[in-house]
Assembly symmetry: C2
Homo-oligomer: 111 residues x 2
DNA sequence: CAGTCACGTAAGCAACTCCTTAATCAATGA
DNA sequence: TCATTGATTAAGGAGTTGCTTACGTGACTG
């Protein structure tokens, strides 16, 4: 079984690709069509479409149809959740490292 | 080509699996041996070993050999980098959404 | 209606993931 | 020395990813 389907996994998976991260970066300059989005990448249009599908599945973008254009817009909520997970763990780890530092300092003091 | 090899991609990929996130969570209770780590999971020892290899490749843990035990320790730097990416983008997006809100408010006011 | 533009879906391929079992290695202990 | 313990490596299978080319679809345009 590959590709866990819980929300956090979907988001992290979506972020684990330079092309998709570049798409997101490019996209927060404002809503963009798929064609404009694909232009700077050395990659076929369908490849971009598939990346967008991954981003959409993770809830990171929304696609709306206007005439023959698909406009992609960012959504921020899933990123908030990912951020929360990372920050929570960073915090606890740093606490722990602080304790370790203290311990090491004490050891240096007594040596 | 699957599996981009830049550092950020490796970290996000490592985090994109519930088992690996659980391992990290469990691990920041302190350094732990592979056996202790594997115990709560309904999964073979080698499977855990392979997850640990992914985490190690991302720089999220360090493995040291003491006698026949492999002790896993957390490393926090790669997570800092990931956090930085997420926060940077969250910030810019929120700015943008604020501008959008302003814009919508003006539109409501004039309609 | 025919042609074009914007985009998606389908099919196919090489590479990768995640798990398994079996074999291997390295350290300990009788 | 031989068995046991802790963990990794090897080999393999089911399913996925990331890309390609080819084709399909819906919307404007002449």
């Amino acid at each position: 079984m590959t590709g866990a389907d819980d929300e956090l996994s979907l988001v992290f998976h979506a972020l684990a690709d330079p092309t998709r991260r570049a798409i997101l970066s490019r996209l927060h300059g404002g809503p963009t069509t798929v064609g404009e989005l694909a232009e700077p990448f050395a990659m076929s249009r369908p490849a971009i479409s598939q990346h967008l599908k991954v981003l959409e599945r993770a809830g990171l973008i929304e696609r709306t149809t206007t005439a023959q254009w698909r406009t992609c817009t960012l959504r921020t909520e899933p990123l908030d959740e990912a951020s929360e997970w990372v920050e929570r763990h960073r915090g606890e780890w740093n606490e722990r490292f602080d304790l370790l530092d203290e311990h090491l300092c004490r050891m240096k003091g007594t040596s």
